[in-house]
């Protein structure tokens, strides 16, 4: 329906006009019906009266068979403009005398007069006819009919319709004016409310308010409720915002605290590591001196003890180195530059080959893997990853180590794969925690700090590292570096 999409003010206007028109038309139809029926009754009464007068004046003409006199009497009806014609009938139904205003009347249809009735008036589409029996001296001496046109009634109806049309137009105009007047009190506030609601939802500005209505109707309640709702939303928004700000402040505070704590911890671990070196140097030195000076004199059991002390000291030294490394990595700033990872991996592998010439090992290095990153830190990371692969594949011959890159979700993923001892995939997360080891030291030496260092480095580059593997089926360490400008495969 067209009306459904119109504005409320248009609807109100239409409503007013329709109500007015319908009311007026219904009332007019009723009045017209009443008026027409009244007019017909009046016409019937007038016809009946005229029939009675003419009848009583025609008695002698009928009684003494004088059609000429009867015609004169009938012709008196010419004074009544609506009468088209009239006639007298003898009791046996013969036409006795007739009068017609116009000579053009050709057909005259007379209604049936019931035997028990003295008179009847019948309305035809164009005219009405009364027929009345004439009794005189207790005898029926004839009948009279008078035919009247309905022009007067039709004119009356037409005049009524004209007036109705004028009144209808006037009323519609008045209704239009009234609805325009009411528009200010009903439609305008609604339109304004709708506009406000639209603005609020478009701009998400909850500080806007609809103009409050001065009236005390439902509309005013609606506007007030709407404004109140906006107020509540605004309050809630403010509360939310302040909560978020507070949270942010708190997070910043905590972060600051954490950073401080971390720094303390790092400083502590650095200084501890550093300070541990001194006593360790002494232990190592003393051990060296004892072995050099008194080695031959010492019993085998004691020499063995000294060897163990040396081993332990070396492990401790390694541990301290690793911890210092980790601490350094954590502290150091990144200096991005172009780094040839392929060349770096090849160099590391050749170093390992020199150190462990006895290992039979197949290596595959993807060529031209160039990335943006900190050359020094990436060297530490790759040292650890390749070193791990080298170490944990030592129980397999021939060992295989592969460095490569693949694309995943549009970003390069670098990986180092070996065919060595692998690990239990359920422990994959623990791999990257410091001092967590999945294999006993007796099997594979190590401090458990290397992968933690690698993870720190990758994270510092904005990347991510993860491991996949199965026990005795090798391990794959994959990592990404900060996207997208950094990675060039």
């Amino acid at each position: 329906m067209m009306l459904a999409s119109r504005s409320i003010s248009t609807k109100l206007t239409w409503m007013n006009i329709s109500v007015t028109a319908v009311a007026l038309i219904v009332a007019s139809i009723a009045f017209l019906a009443y008026d027409q029926s009244t007019a017909r009754s009046e016409l019937a009464l007038s016809l009946s009266t005229q029939a009675q007068i003419v009848a009583s004046n025609s008695v002698s003409a009928l009684e003494f068979n004088d059609p000429q006199s009867a015609r004169l009497t009938l012709a008196a009806l010419a004074a009544s403009p609506n009468i088209e014609g009239a006639g007298l009938l003898t009791p046996d139904g013969q036409l006795f005398a007739e009068y017609w205003r116009s000579p053009n009347v050709r057909v005259n249809v007379l209604p049936v007069l019931q035997p028990n009735r003295i008179e009847t008036v019948v309305f035809f589409p164009q005219h009405a006819t009364v027929i009345r029996n004439i009794d005189f001296g207790g005898r029926r001496i004839g009948a009279i009919y008078i035919r009247s046109s309905l022009v007067t009634i039709d004119q009356r109806r037409n005049r009524f319709l004209q007036i109705l049309a004028i009144v209808l137009l006037a009323c519609l105009g008045a209704a239009l004016l009234v609805s325009m007047a009411f528009r200010h009190s009903v439609a305008d506030p609604i339109t304004e409310l709708a506009d406000t609601a639209r603005t609020v939802s478009r701009e998400r500005n909850y500080s806007i308010r609809a103009k409050p209505s001065r009236a005390h109707d439902e509309l005013a309640t609606l506007i007030a409720a709407f404004n109140e709702m906006l107020g509540q939303i605004q309050l809630r928004d403010a509360a939310l915002l302040s909560a978020r700000n507070e949270l942010e402040v708190r997070v910043q505070e905590r972060t600051k605290q954490l950073v401080a704590a971390n720094r303390d911890l790092e400083a502590f671990s650095y200084s501890v590591s550093h300070d541990l070196r001194g006593p360790l140097e002494i232990v190592n030195g003393m051990n060296f001196i004892i072995t050099q000076q008194y080695g031959r004199e010492l019993p085998a059991g004691l020499r063995d003890c000294l060897d163990r002390i040396e081993d332990a000291a070396k492990r401790m030294e390694q541990l301290i180195d690793d911890m210092l490394n980790l601490a350094r990595v954590t502290k150091s700033e990144i200096h991005r530059e172009r780094v040839d990872l392929s060349g770096m991996v090849r160099q590391i592998l050749s170093e390992f080959r020199q150190r462990y010439p006895e290992r039979v090992i197949e290596t595959t290095v993807a060529p031209d893997v160039i990335v943006e990153g900190d050359a020094h830190l990436l060297r530490v990371a790759m040292d650890n990853l390749v070193g791990n692969a080298w170490k944990y594949s030592s129980n397999v011959s021939p060992s295989r180590i592969e460095f490569g890159v693949r694309q995943s979700e549009g970003a390069p993923v670098f990986f180092v794969r070996d065919n060595g001892a692998g690990f239990d995939p359920r422990s994959a997360q623990r791999l990257f925690q410091p001092f967590q080891r999945l294999h006993p030291i007796s099997e594979f030496p190590g401090t458990g700090v290397g992968l933690a260092t690698v993870q720190r480095i990758i994270q510092k580059h904005g990347g991510r590292i993860w491991a996949e593997g199965q026990v005795n089926k090798g391990a794959t360490f994959s990592f990404t570096l900060a996207e997208p400008e950094s990675a060039v495969a």
Binding site: E63, E98, N133
Partner: protein, 189 residues
């Protein structure tokens, strides 16, 4: 409703679709179209009664129509007025011979046979409240009240209003309207 007849009248075709009227057989029998001249006159005789006002007289329960002289109607008059009433009074037909007998009559038909002694009769009856009717030529001019005349085969009548007034009778204007002629002065002889 039935189609009664199609008739030419006044040079134009008027299809007259008649109603069925409630008609009493008595009236039907007296319809002018089927009546002989005598029957029409007999009917007129009593019909006059409805259009004439008589001066108040001693109450009587009958209304007499008298025929003086040789009765041309025979039983027609009696048949015509049988069962009829005027002003609540029963109609009776009487035959009289002497003018004095007219005192008991309201309407007096003077037969052609009395033409010779019309003058004494009228002078005897003239002052009585009696409506005199006759077929005698120039009856109205000669002092009678109503005179039957034939016009184109139709029975009509002349009225002498002065004679009626002299008799103390008032004739209805309706009656005068249908009269062939109305004489308002005294008779010539």
């Amino acid at each position: 409703m039935r189609y009664a007849r199609v008739r030419w009248w006044g040079g134009r075709c008027s299809v007259l679709l008649c109603c069925v009227l409630a008609i009493t057989p008595a009236v039907f029998a007296q319809a002018p179209a089927s009546a002989t001249e005598l029957q029409v006159k007999a009917a007129y005789l009593f019909k006059f009664g409805a259009f004439v006002e008589w001066p108040p007289t001693a109450p009587s329960d009958s209304f007499a129509i008298c025929v003086m002289g040789r009765d041309p109607f025979g039983h027609t008059l009696d048949d015509t007025i049988r069962g009829e009433q005027i002003n609540g009074k029963k109609l009776v037909a009487k035959r009289i011979v002497l003018p004095e007998q007219a005192a008991q009559c309201q309407i007096l038909y003077i037969s052609d046979s009395e033409e010779a002694r019309l003058r004494p009769i009228l002078s005897a009856v003239g002052k009585m409240p009696v409506l005199t009717v006759s077929d005698i030529t120039n009856f109205a001019e000669r002092g009678g009240a109503i005179q039957f005349v034939l016009e184109n085969g139709r029975v009509r009548f002349n009225v002498n209003l002065a004679s009626a007034e002299k008799a103390g009778l008032t004739l209805s204007s309706q009656l005068l309207k249908v009269a062939s002629s109305v004489q308002r002065s005294e008779g010539r002889d």
